[in-house]
Symmetry: C2
Subunit: 408 residues, 2 copies
């Protein structure tokens, strides 16, 4: 008998019929002898509907009252799932974030979990009940309702697994695991049985959005065994494990290929190469909460000048240009160029650290397809390149082939 936390996203509970299917699955886990705590999101579309109503009354929608509105979505879900379980003869009890309680700070709309008191839930589980907890929400010290920001239900799932010392945290989604590449782009992509937290973090931050990043950081920190699997079909899914548990296993060089099509790049040409310049170029952008992804400073073309390039989300491109252009002029840069039509391709794999030649094999594979590489950046377990957006599919397939990631 194990204690399992199962998290179901909005598409898994999008209709009464799907809620019934989730209840069937939960009831099966319980019948198999497990103690099950379930975390659910709002029904798909519900959060957007509520956000739309809120936005039409106060623009931009934000603050304490927005969380009151949004949290109502998960509250409906938990009650409905608990009723579906009861209808199957499976005793169930639902809890809102405030009822658990899941204590958070008071940063409305993007609160952080401070503490989860698992006593009520544990006593329910021991009494044979399935516990259904609202994802995405908590309450601050005053008892005000808070939400954790988009995707926060993953975080709730993992944090609850930590609080309950669960044997496994299962994240049910609309894919049946993590793949070597997006199967919509590479039909030969293969489901991975296991993946380390670090690899998953890189894949996730690069656009393969299966799991929310904060949830994974949490799982990694507290070493919660995490499994990603489909709520629509049975299967083992993909197990996400700490890197040290992979010791002794045969390490694949590369776990997968990720991409991010939402990027735009900005290059400041021939800017004086002296301390403080990089700071000056990015200070306004940081203050405006525009996220900067890659930063590359090329080898100085002249002794006292350099080219400075960075990428931002495509939606922030115009705003970022407006901020950088005057600063670049002030600093005496030659000119500023930009391109909002780029994508980032990345190879991810913990095996990369101990092997040479990965990068050259990557560049060679892209060169054979005449894909021009505009930027390169590396970390311990990934190599990323920026290319023109029209090479996205070609590049993913070429790399998938070059690193033998194909099925079978």
């Amino acid at each position: 008998m194990a204690l399992i936390v199962q998290k179901y996203g909005g598409t898994s509970v999008a209709s009464a019929e799907r809620i019934g299917a989730v209840a069937d699955r939960v009831a099966r886990s319980r019948a198999a002898g497990h103690q099950v705590a379930v975390v659910v999101s709002a029904m798909a579309g519900e959060t957007d509907r509520l956000l739309g109503l809120a936005a039409s009354l106060r623009h931009p929608p934000r603050g304490r009252e927005l969380d009151v509105v949004l949290a109502s979505g998960e509250q409906a879900s938990i009650g409905l799932l608990a009723m579906a379980l009861e209808a199957r003869g499976c005793p169930a009890c639902s809890y809102t974030g405030a009822q658990v309680p899941i204590r958070t700070d008071s940063s409305f709309n993007r609160a952080r979990i401070l503490e989860i008191d698992g006593r009520r839930i544990r006593s329910d589980l021991e009494a044979g009940r399935v516990v259904v907890v609202a994802g995405f929400q908590g309450a601050d010290e005053e008892g005000s309702i808070t939400t954790l920001g988009r995707g926060g239900s993953d975080t709730t799932g993992v944090a609850l697994a930590v609080a309950l010392q669960a044997d496994e945290c299962q994240i049910y989604t609309d894919v049946d695991g993590v793949y070597t590449a997006d199967p919509r782009i590479e039909p030969n992509a293969r489901r991975l049985d296991r993946l380390t937290f670090e690899e998953m973090l890189e894949l996730s931050s690069l656009g393969a959005k299966v799991l929310q990043i904060r949830a994974m950081e949490f799982a990694s920190k507290y070493r919660v065994p995490l499994r990603v699997l489909s709520s629509f079909e049975d299967g083992p899914g993909t197990m996400i494990v700490p890197e040290d548990e992979e010791e002794g296993m045969e390490q694949p060089l590369i776990s997968g290929i990720a991409f991010n099509r939402d990027e735009a790049k900005i290059t400041v040409h021939r800017v004086p190469d002296r301390p403080g310049v990089a700071y000056r170029l990015l200070a306004d952008i940081a203050a405006a909460n525009i996220e900067v992804d890659m930063i590359v400073q090329n080898a100085a073309p002249e002794h006292d000048e350099t080219d400075f390039t960075f990428t931002v989300n495509r939606n922030d491109y115009e705003r970022a240009r407006e901020m950088v252009d005057p600063v670049a002029e002030e600093l005496g840069a030659e000119r500023v160029t930009g391109d909002p039509r780029i994508v980032k391709l990345s190879l991810v794999g913990v095996g990369m650290r101990s092997h040479a030649g990965i990068a050259s094999r990557m560049f060679d594979a892209l060169a054979r397809e005449s894909v021009n590489i505009q930027m390169i950046s590396t970390s311990e377990i990934k190599i990323s390149v920026v290319v023109d957006e029209r090479y996205l599919e070609l590049g993913v397939r070429a790399l998938h082939e070059a690193f033998d990631l194909h099925d079978g």
Copy 2:
């Protein structure tokens, strides 16, 4: 400066636009120098939508989890209204039933309010904030969410007015007050400026559903000044006052004419006239929670036999027949007859007590229109008759005319 509780029903907050209109009205009350606590229902249609989802997962929908689902409707409303107030520069703070807290018993789906702690709300009001409270819901001792049953938002409004010792409880609805008769049936019906609680109770229980009965009992018991008015147009509405405050005023004989078109009658003919028979006839029906409205036992046609007639809601007619028929046979009754196509017409007025001749004037007015009276029942401030449903409109108009209730 007064402390006012305003209660808005589902149709008043049916859309973002209407929520905005409510916010305008609330902000005007505050700008006029009043402290305002607002109670809101779920957006019109929302409770039915949630109930439909619940019913498709567990039939019949009931229990603790149903309240979790239903209460989410008002939670969305309070956050939305608070945001609309903030957008108008009016500081606002919302509270769910559990947050106030509104403490109830644990009778899920039809809980009763035990206690309201008004301290948080009062301190918000004193700080200049408008407080927005979710109607229809509370929390029991365990912290489980409870609901008060349909129309419970009225009860929340009145109970909150009591707890805050409010100067007035304003019930905003889609009519601009209480009328001498339903204006859809009697175009000459007149809005009443004042009405006693007792009269309002009788009018309400007879189908003129402006206010929930429990709310009025509460208001009457604690002597909360209550005003019914329209959320769509300005006007003084109808003030509901304790009877003793009407002393010295010129009393109208009759305040209004009510009707109930949902009734069905069942008559047990020639049942033995001995103690215990009435009990036997109604015991099963009471146990099945079928509500019995009128009960009339006619003068015994024979010394040792009598006719026993009662009315139930039309929806319960078949079920009630199935229960009564075997008991009647067992008791040796001659036969059972029934009619699900009847309506009840009632004259209501506190003035009635001190005047003779009302009943005969009523019967005369109906006789002139050849309306046959099937049953008669009286209380201190009303006279009710049961007639065939086809005489509903004719009967209402004849009585309205006979008692000079017309406008002007």
